[in-house]
Symmetry: C2
Subunit: 153 residues, 2 copies
Amino acid sequence: MTNEHHTPAGAALTGLVLEIFRLNGRLLAEGDRLMAGTGLTSARWQVMGAIHFASKPQTVSWLARNMGLTRQAVQRVVNDLEGEGLVAFQENPAHRRAQLVTLTQKGQAAYAGADQRQVPWANDLAEGFDAAELEQALELLRGIRDRLEAVRG
Amino acid sequence: MTNEHHTPAGAALTGLVLEIFRLNGRLLAEGDRLMAGTGLTSARWQVMGAIHFASKPQTVSWLARNMGLTRQAVQRVVNDLEGEGLVAFQENPAHRRAQLVTLTQKGQAAYAGADQRQVPWANDLAEGFDAAELEQALELLRGIRDRLEAVRG
DNA sequence: TCCTAATTGACAACATACTGTCAATACTCA
DNA sequence: TGAGTATTGACAGTATGTTGTCAATTAGGA
């Protein structure tokens, strides 16, 4: 596997990787545009989503692992959100330092408002695409990520 | 299209978007790890790749459009690369301010070295995946990006 | 119990990308 | 030709993510 040329799959994967970089940028820009005026951004929406979808209040470290980001990145966003009253910290009986993060009422309202924008946006953008094909692509990307994470943490 | 719930395709697309965010982070980290010791990073490798694959020397603005980034982001990276002697500016007969960017010999060597690492990495990661399936996913992502760019610049 | 290792939050430094603004330059068309 | 528009690079400010380091805390094994 140390040839100097890409295999067909290697070439396709490289193209896919470059497309992911481009699409990522586009999607972040689109998300920021979509959330303009709500006080939220793509990054904040994602963090609040992770809090929202957790079955119970979780620590920053847990959220970071769940999102595939570093503790520090999530911590900074969470601290910002806390400063704006969108999330709050709860005492964690299991760990004195690692507090649990929850959405405040204001945070829940903001997240619901964001969702009201995201749902029609996603439905519109998905119009014309085949759901099964989207699912298939999602599975493929998951497989790639699993493989990346299997090699090294 | 302003329902309060996702359509099947809308839900699949939303999952795909979140997976793209995660995979993007993973891939950037992997790229930085892969290039460790070469003096390059994922971002620099991408910019140098855009210069390398252009049929002729291009301006920073052209490169930015080609990569789906802002002028300013690419400009900063290019300036850094120029500071390290990896790229050089050429006079542009067609535009006094907008100079053309080229890889120096040192830059070409660095890019070739990076490629020697990227090729086996991509081939290894692609092992076990179907090239046609990877191509199909790539086409789908391109379609989504086209649609995003069609709506607004 | 006690030593060691892993986890966690805090802090600092940095890389990468964004927006906004400005002046210089190029382009278009009346 | 000349006025208005678009593009471009430069600069500043900000958001988001990284790595590295440190101390506090927790967990696990001898």
